[in-house]
């Protein structure tokens, strides 16, 4: 006589299938994961999360209606100024490309911004990862920088055809190192490495391996572009506190994040476009 009933055998078979599926798709870049994961995440988002978000947004939009006109005027002013800034940036980029060509250096890859929406997040586990609704079909690739409206928030760690996983900079698994530069003046920067996020101070830890007195509070910190992973110039935060390193030559700089990690719905991905 069998030790297990028919139902138990069925359940065991189902467990074996699920376990094999989880093991098989645990590696990155699996085709099956891409085929199965994308539609299921989208289904969950469209059936559960999107209606709830819509309801929440409707309620908050209704509450914000009274402030709309004032915000509208202020934003119109900013928009007018942004055209000028945009023109200046284009001009500088053109000059930069021409000068690099003259010097015979390789022209750095250009980047395009792909807008995305967060479709899955689970704060219950501590891995600080989110899923967004763009993938390889939208030219997203591994290690692309992900930004919110205010600054850098993370990088792409897994790409499927229509979705991608993002590891946030606030992860504490120390796999989110970023090369950064601190703008000590209009023409000078100091390079360092953003290593991890400090829970107690609520700031990024940046290590500088030079002893410099030029770093001051509130100076901007941006990505340096070193290593070719992230484009340069993405705002990371501002200097909050400076400490000497013990037993080592250099400084530890605590950087207040520019991005508001308490809540964001939309992000942009810097995707590389080869010239």
């Amino acid at each position: 006589m069998s030790r297990f009933t028919r139902l138990q055998k069925l359940l065991l078979a189902l467990i074996a299938v699920l376990l094999a599926f989880a093991l098989f798709t645990n590696g990155k870049g699996s085709t099956i994961k891409s085929i199965v994961y994308d539609p299921l995440v989208m289904l969950k988002y469209s059936v559960l999360d999107y209606p709830i978000e819509t309801l929440q947004n409707f309620i908050s939009d209704f509450n914000d209606l009274w402030q709309v006109k004032q915000e509208n005027d202020a934003l119109r002013q900013q928009l007018a100024e942004s055209d000028q800034l945009s023109a200046m940036i284009e001009n500088l980029q053109r000059e930069n490309a021409e000068l690099k060509e003259l010097l015979g250096t390789d022209v750095a890859a250009q980047y395009e911004k792909v807008n995305a929406r967060i479709i899955s997040r689970n704060p219950e586990v501590y891995n600080n990862q989110i899923t967004i609704n763009v993938g390889s079909a939208d030219n997203v690739a591994l290690d692309n920088a992900v930004v919110s409206a205010y600054g850098l928030v993370g990088k792409i760690t897994e790409v499927n055809e229509h979705t991608s996983r993002v590891r946030l900079l606030t992860s504490q698994d120390q796999l989110s190192m970023v090369s950064v530069q601190i703008h000590v003046s209009d023409t000078e920067v100091v390079n360092g490495y953003l290593e991890q996020y400090d829970l107690e101070k609520g700031a990024f830890i940046v290590r500088l391996y030079t002893n410099t007195d030029q770093i001051k509070i509130d100076q901007n910190v941006t990505t340096s572009g070193a290593g070719g992973v992230f484009p340069s110039g993405i705002l990371v935060g501002s200097v909050m506190q400076i400490e000497e390193m013990r037993n080592e030559n250099g400084r530890i700089v605590y950087v207040t994040p520019a991005a508001d990690f308490s809540s964001f719905e939309y992000v942009s991905v810097y995707c590389e476009v080869q010239p």
Binding site: L11, L12, I15, L18, Q56, L199
Partner: protein, 185 residues
Amino acid sequence: MILQVLFIAAAFLVDEIIGGLLPHSFMPGDVVITSCLGLSALVLMQRKMERIDSLLITIIFGLLYDYFAAHTFLVCTIVFVIINLAVSQWQKHITESMLESCLLVFTTIFVKEFLVYFIMTLLSETLMPFDMWLVSRASLTLLLNGVLVVIIVWASRMIEDIMLMREKKIRKEETISWWKISSKR
């Protein structure tokens, strides 16, 4: 069994809905509130199942939760299985009164939060100190679930009543073919 599984699945779905309505933050030190109705339903339903059936159902729900909700590999499965084994030992010593059921579920939620924190710390996914975990994660989660526990216990009792009514109905419709009774042959 099917009714119990559907009840557990519905509880997990309600968890997702409540999770969407609750405020959420990506800042590691911020307050996080998670709804644990699914696990509560699992713990309450397993008391009426065979031990091995409940373990298998727990593993299946753990694997599904790992893959589709938590996006981790076996973390939630391990936590659910540990809780299943602990509850199956503990339930021999408690009755099925409302208060004890609520206490059982409430304690289970605390143990689950602690186990997840412990595993995440072991895996170096988080460096959160224990006191911060207590304040930012455990306290409000237990507070919210302390209210929801009453609802889920009441719902589980309704499910048990439905199952009991069904069994009674089946027994009522049973007829005995007296000529097949072995003592009469």
